[in-house]
Symmetry: C2
Subunit: 429 residues, 2 copies
Amino acid sequence: MRLTKPEEESELLAALTRAQAKSPFWRDRFAALGLRPGDFVPGFPFEQLPLLSKSELLADQAEHGPLGRLLAVPPEEIRRIHKTSGTSARPLFIALTQRDIADTYVSATRAFKAAGMGPGDRVAHCLNFNMWSGGVSDYLPIEAVGATGIPFGVGNTSLLLETIRSLGVNAISSTPSYMYTLRDRCRAELGLDPAELGLKRGYFGGEGLLQVPGVRAGIERDFGLVAIDANYGMSEVLSIIAGEDAARDGLVYHAWGIVYAELVDPSGRPLPIEAGATGELVFSSLRREGQPLFRYRTNDLAEILWAETADDGLLRMRYRIIGRSDEMLVLRGVNFFPQALQSVIPAFEPALSRFYRVVRPKDGDCGALEVLFETDLPDGAERDHLAASIAAKVAATFQVRIEVHWLPMGRIPREANKARYLVRSADEI
Amino acid sequence: MRLTKPEEESELLAALTRAQAKSPFWRDRFAALGLRPGDFVPGFPFEQLPLLSKSELLADQAEHGPLGRLLAVPPEEIRRIHKTSGTSARPLFIALTQRDIADTYVSATRAFKAAGMGPGDRVAHCLNFNMWSGGVSDYLPIEAVGATGIPFGVGNTSLLLETIRSLGVNAISSTPSYMYTLRDRCRAELGLDPAELGLKRGYFGGEGLLQVPGVRAGIERDFGLVAIDANYGMSEVLSIIAGEDAARDGLVYHAWGIVYAELVDPSGRPLPIEAGATGELVFSSLRREGQPLFRYRTNDLAEILWAETADDGLLRMRYRIIGRSDEMLVLRGVNFFPQALQSVIPAFEPALSRFYRVVRPKDGDCGALEVLFETDLPDGAERDHLAASIAAKVAATFQVRIEVHWLPMGRIPREANKARYLVRSADEI
């Protein structure tokens, strides 16, 4: 177990005490645990508090909407409302006070600076502004680090291509997935090699795709840019929590002093945060005023690469995301993450698109995993050969048997925010 | 002529001197006028400088792109790039330094406060974030006045309706035109009277539509809200320059200390700014660092309702926009503004949509003005009768003869930013 340091403990106890006093959700939850005002004192066994899941927050907003009993300030103190990007069916509303907003900038500015963003970068910010924190909350730190920001949003790729060329845009901030759209449209509409767009740096976020072998190298090769995983975060905790620095050796944790980090095993037991440890990341609010969270499960599985306590008593660490616990499939005892299939695609392009869906098996221990790929090849021998080649490559790479099903090119929705890889059935598409 | 007050004169002379030193565009332009460094001293006949038009800025960016020789700072000092919303063919890029950005918030915050926005308002900001200054630059002042901001953008009306209802949104910031879309979709998708959405205040901008007789009353009646013309401005000068206050008696000028205002007659001669004066508004930068403008023609024709010099030596005024000089048609000696036709539409709804285009006559003195309206009525007697009724009403209201042409409902593009009313030919649609 990671031992809470005194410097963090005092902040954490103050946050718990505030939440107990101001948030009906936490007041009731603490009461149900037998915790009373005055109980949050040095030595309080924080690691024994139960974990909190997103479904509990969604249920709170569904029953006590719109902002739930979690809200710990009067509604008129909320300055900005975001929503989660909605890979789950119902969005979660995120309510930020003035200080909460400022905290998102602090951590994001640390992250963008560490990623090398600064004066001379002319960054088109191509994340959705439509309530997503990837929009306005992640845009402003681009200006804060001294780069030139271009608040572009998503949904007009032709205009983006024109703007990149006419404005001499040399950097992009987007999801990695979007780069496939940009690449294809650049070739189709401009007849131009994407490397000639002049993009020098890509600051990516919103999804963990750069971790998939081959994806980063592919984007870097196609566009002739340096691709940086600049943005790991989640709105309900902090829009940007971590990001790569110049070394690009895992994600550097930037939320120290704002968020308290833990690592837990599959049963929820705390694990020491030290090099080599793997587990699920769990976060707690040290400062959040609007919607304070304690021991919040991220579903993100991380491997700690390096960790130490700095002079200020706060944790510093590097980690890499190895998958999402809620997307992990266990197939005949083998852990398999659907997004990992991205790594086999380049070998089959352009007959195959970058977009696919894995159908979650009803029985976890299924014989073969159903995967829907897109192609323009007509029904026939060539297509059957492609299917067999993909299945062979997947089996060799992941020791996983797949059954290839076909969809026409363009059939799978292109996501504005972050890519999905898992569906419950083929009908979901 | 409005006499420059000493307090404004010193700011203006400093701005001219800076521009001469730092902007190649102004250095050359001043040199061509025989003006040398050191010429901008008290008593300088500012009102004799030639007027500047948008086409000159567009030509500068086309020839010396992307930001033109107008730029008065090194490119790396630019923090944000907007573009004009593009009713003209080519967008103009607007480059803002940190101070320029801060100035947009100062004036916008004055405007939103005067419009009554503040704590308790939960404002969905439904202007396009895609580089337009109506996006991020106009969004942040909503938070600055203490309201709750919802950065929504445009393009997802169904989600907006759902969000208004689930979040209890009680105010909207959008173009007036967008309210027609929202009204129709609310009825069609939710089967709900728009007045039941719960919107109490509408803060409108981006276009002068509220000035058209009947438009404000129609929006207020349909939605049961108070409609405020909260946002008069143009990115190249200042995103928000003026807006209505609670009296809703014209636009209150909020750019004092940031922008210097003049009024000119059709030949460009200065007019006194005093109650009853009408002319074109002309603006100059007192503080703009990125792209300083002097004697910039807005093409907006204004009537001054009230004006005085405050204790700080700076102009305060109220005015109303009576039309755009570049959209004004002179028909047999009668001035006619295409957007004025909005006022006759409600009498013919729902057979007629809110969208139409006036075809600019090749000969200004044409017999009848060609107007394209949308309807779902089939070719036949009923439609002919509708056309005759519209023409009769327009003739009675404006002393203008029109020839009605028909387009199917939905044929005219719905604009995300601001409505257009004038085209060169029917083919332009």
